[in-house]
């Protein structure tokens, strides 16, 4: 029932696009496998249960990782020095060890012989306990889904962003009651540039709410309540992006978040985070997401907010193919690849809607089993809320006609303020009307063979292949440095967070990576069974 094969794409061309993406991704994957970062190491500590912060809010995970790094370096991984100190020292727990390390009272070393074997064994046990906790949360999601029911796609995706988790909770519950299938808690501005994860329940933020483990827990619990009330599982989304991507992914797995924003290049392009740091962090975060059964959402929609949505349509496809390749390599199943794209063509362009349909249908057919996330117009929302409401309706129509899986709800007040209660209500009325009025219209939408839509789709695919060939010749890092995506130039030796990157030494040891590299992330629970929509 999924609308496939409507564009008569040449399978050989599609296959070629995927092979090129794999070739372009390969050196990056190799780099990620041979390097580590401060955040990857801290993620291990968090997985092993290290939580909390000092009185200034600096997390114990940062204290401990920094102390090890200062004394023995990052290149061996923090696991051996940390568990060596724990096994042989007077400290009863990781927190006590971190507190002592913060006061400069622990001396770390790289253990050898029996000490090394003991440290390795203890670290493995700790990492295994964390992975098992994530496995349990995934099984719990499966149980709750079976108990309360999984809503039909397209899922309606709404955001809340008050800055105060205790204000977000009633708003999120209200949104769920009004029809939201997915609630995303927008993060505080600039959190992506913090090299630590804030701690505890937070009540102040700039245009969003901090992502913290406690905020995750509070919101997931509130959505569980409302899911049972409504008889429909309401998913929770946050952001595994920025400098703490691996740690936030880990916390999301531990607190049973359901979807995470996790793009391969967003932080590089839009936040000026160092490209190497991003790709290394990302592989670990995606391995965790794969294991946790979390659906990632990628950020290709953002390219269209900077570049022209017609001229740059092929950069979206290229990025999706790269995200798919990086995702598969990290263990994500197709059903976990929430590839993003957007309705951002200037409405003043003739046949803009026809072009949107071509782009949306192309993405649908290239990734038939991916829960595609379709983003509403933002760039051409002018403050004329009435015209904006109309544009959002056309966006909803394109989404229904081309079988998109996750539809972010457009707000007519986009760019004016964070959505009011009434903005959300009107937006949901809009999408409900279009969805109900169209019903199974996707079944009837079959573009004329060789017509405008089919030709445009083929043209975008062909431009994607040209760009992928350039990237393969040039190298992905160079392409990013040259401003291929989102116009911005991002050299590999610049940007935030590069000083937190280290090449792994011989004998590098990280028991979490050991498990994630060796085991099939879906073996214990089976691949998630979400149906890809009609």
């Amino acid at each position: 029932m999924t609308p496939q094969r409507k564009l008569d794409l040449d399978p050989a061309v599609v296959g070629r696009a995927r092979r090129l993406a794999a070739r372009a991704a390969e050196p990056i994957i190799e780099m990620a496998r041979t390097h580590t970062t401060v955040s990857v190491e801290r993620a291990l500590l968090r997985l092993a249960g290290l939580a909390g912060a000092d009185s200034d809010g600096r997390p114990w995970a940062n204290h401990l990782a920094d102390a090890v790094r200062d004394q023995v370096g990052l290149e061996h991984g923090v696991a051996l020095p940390v568990w060596d100190a724990l096994v042989n020292g007077p400290h009863g727990s990781l927190v006590e060890l971190a507190e002592a390390a913060a006061r400069g009272r622990v001396s770390f070393r790289l253990p050898a012989g029996t000490d090394e074997a003991n440290a390795r064994e203890a670290a493995r046990r700790a990492a295994r306990a964390g992975i098992t906790a994530i496995d349990r949360r995934r099984a719990e999601r499966d149980r709750v889904l079976a108990e309360v029911g999984d809503p039909a796609q397209p899922w309606i995706y709404l955001i809340v962003a008050t800055g105060d988790i205790y204000e977000d909770i009633p708003q999120a519950q209200a949104a769920a009651r009004e029809g939201a299938d997915v609630v995303a808690v927008i993060r505080s501005t600039g959190q992506s540039l913090l090299d630590f994860v804030p701690e505890g329940a937070t009540r102040e933020g700039y245009a969003g709410t901090y992502a913290t483990q406690e905020n995750f827990r509070l919101m997931r619990s509130a959505l569980d309540d409302v899911s049972r009330e409504l008889g429909r599982y309401v998913r929770l989304t946050n952001y595994a992006s920025g400098l703490c991507m691996p740690e936030i992914a880990t916390l999301a797995g531990l607190e049973r978040l359901d979807m995470m924003l996790n793009d391969c290049m967003y932080g590089i392009i839009f936040r000026d985070i160092n490209p190497r740091r991003t790709f290394i962090d990302q592989r670990f975060s995606r391995q965790i997401h794969a294991r946790a059964g979390i659906v990632i959402n990628t950020g290709e929609d953002n390219y269209l907010t900077t570049a022209d949505a017609v001229d740059a349509a092929h950069t979206v496809i290229v990025s999706q193919l790269l995200n798919e390749r990086f995702g598969h390599e990290a263990g994500l199943a197709d059903a976990q690849l929430g590839l993003g794209h957007a309705f951002e063509i200037n409405p003043a362009i003739p046949e803009s809607f026809r072009l949107e349909l071509a782009h949306a249908q192309l993405v649908r057919e290239l990734f038939p089993d991916a829960p595609l996330k379709y983003m509403p117009p933002t760039k051409h929302m002018t403050g004329n809320i009435f015209a904006g409401y109309l544009l959002d309706a056309f966006f909803n129509l394109a989404g229904v006609m081309t079988g998109q899986s996750i539809i972010l709800i457009g707000m007519m007040t986009e760019g004016i303020h964070t959505p009011w209660l009434s903005d959300r209500d009107l937006a949901l009325e809009n999408v409900r009307y279009v969805r109900d009025a169209c019903g199974g219209l996707a079944d009837d939408f079959v573009p004329r063979p060789g017509g405008f839509v089919a030709q445009r789709a083929r043209q975008v695919l062909s431009e994607s292949i040209d760009l992928l060939e350039e990237i393969c010749d040039d190298g992905l890092l160079n392409a990013i440095a040259d401003g291929t995506f989102g116009i911005t130039r991002r050299p590999a030796d610049r940007g935030k967070g590069l000083d937190g990157v280290a090449e792994r030494a011989d004998g590098y040891f990280n028991p979490a990576i050991e498990i994630l590299d060796a085991e099939d992330p879906h073996a214990r629970h089976g691949v998630p069974t979400e149906e890809v929509p009609a």
């Binding site: 009651r177 839009f270 760039k379 209660l421 209500d425 911005t488």
Partner: protein, 277 residues
């Protein structure tokens, strides 16, 4: 189109209703629905009460207090058990003395699009405009500088990195004045952008003066911004009590400043030959 019933635009009325005076000399104005002077406006709002007749009465009372008389609730919709959304039409009884409203002093420079900024730089400078940005002192809040510089931008506008003809060096937070001066010299920058969010003990004012002093000392023979020294620009939410002269900078930007305003100012201040649209 057929005029709706009750419309005053009925046939034959035109010759008996000549305008009293041309519109541009009218002193006192009211909102215009479909007839001069009808005072009609539409508003929408939410009240935190369950929908029903009592909620409608509350909406009408609010409309009355807003100066709408008569008012009618044309739409009331429950949003969950605790909220109601209203659309209300009504006649406002307020009059506006238009003649007493001064013509606002515009920005002394035109607001340019990214394309116009790029074109101006290309045409006038023949190279990319180079800027360095930083949060100086102990201020770790890069929200402001990132909103102006990062591609992500602010208020739906892309940051200065998005401008092809502007080369941005973003030094981030907790940059010392010495580091900033050194980098500005090394990159031979056209402008220095400093963001100051933290205001405890007037740190933002002290830091800015110190920064300006250092640049003036470093370029003793400078004639003006762009003539022997870089343009000095500071931004932050708490500069409303001081003038640029007080601080020794060329321009202060306040809360809510967008990247396009900054880019347009750079063109205005550094490319004086550039025709204003």
């Amino acid at each position: 189109m057929t005029p709706p019933p009750g419309s005053t635009h009925s046939a034959g009325s035109t010759d008996t209703q000549a305008p009293a005076e041309p519109a541009d000399t009218r002193q006192v104005i009211r909102p215009y629905g479909d007839t001069t002077g009808d005072g009609m406006v539409q508003v929408s709002f939410t009240l935190p009460v369950p929908a029903g007749k009592r909620a409608d009465a509350a909406a009408l009372q609010l409309a009355g207090k807003m100066g709408l008389d008569p008012a009618s609730v044309v739409h009331a919709k429950p949003m969950g058990p605790d909220f109601t959304f209203f659309i209300v039409y009504g006649r406002v009884n307020h009059l506006i003395d238009y003649a007493s409203i001064p013509v606002p002093e515009g920005r002394e420079y035109p607001l340019l699009s990214a394309g116009e900024v790029n074109l101006a730089i290309r045409a006038t400078l023949g190279r990319r405009l180079v800027i360095v940005g930083a949060c100086i002192g102990t201020d770790a809040h890069t929200v402001g500088i990132d909103a102006i510089l990062n591609v992500k931008g602010f208020a739906g506008e892309k940051g200065l990195e998005y401008y092809r003809e502007i080369q941005v060096v973003n030094m981030g937070a907790q940059v010392t004045v010495e580091e900033l001066v050194e980098r500005a010299k090394a990159e031979n920058v056209d402008a220095v952008l400093v963001s100051q969010v933290v205001t405890q003990r007037n740190a933002h004012l002290h830091n800015t003066k110190q920064m300006a002093g250092a640049f003036h000392a470093e370029y003793p023979t400078a004639v003006a911004a762009g003539m022997g020294r870089p343009l000095l620009v500071v931004g932050g939410p708490r500069f409303d009590t001081v003038t640029p002269e007080d601080l020794g900078v060329d321009r202060i930007f306040g809360k809510g400043t967008t990247p396009a305003e900054v880019a347009s100012y750079l063109v205005h201040a550094l490319l004086p030959g550039e025709a204003t649209q």
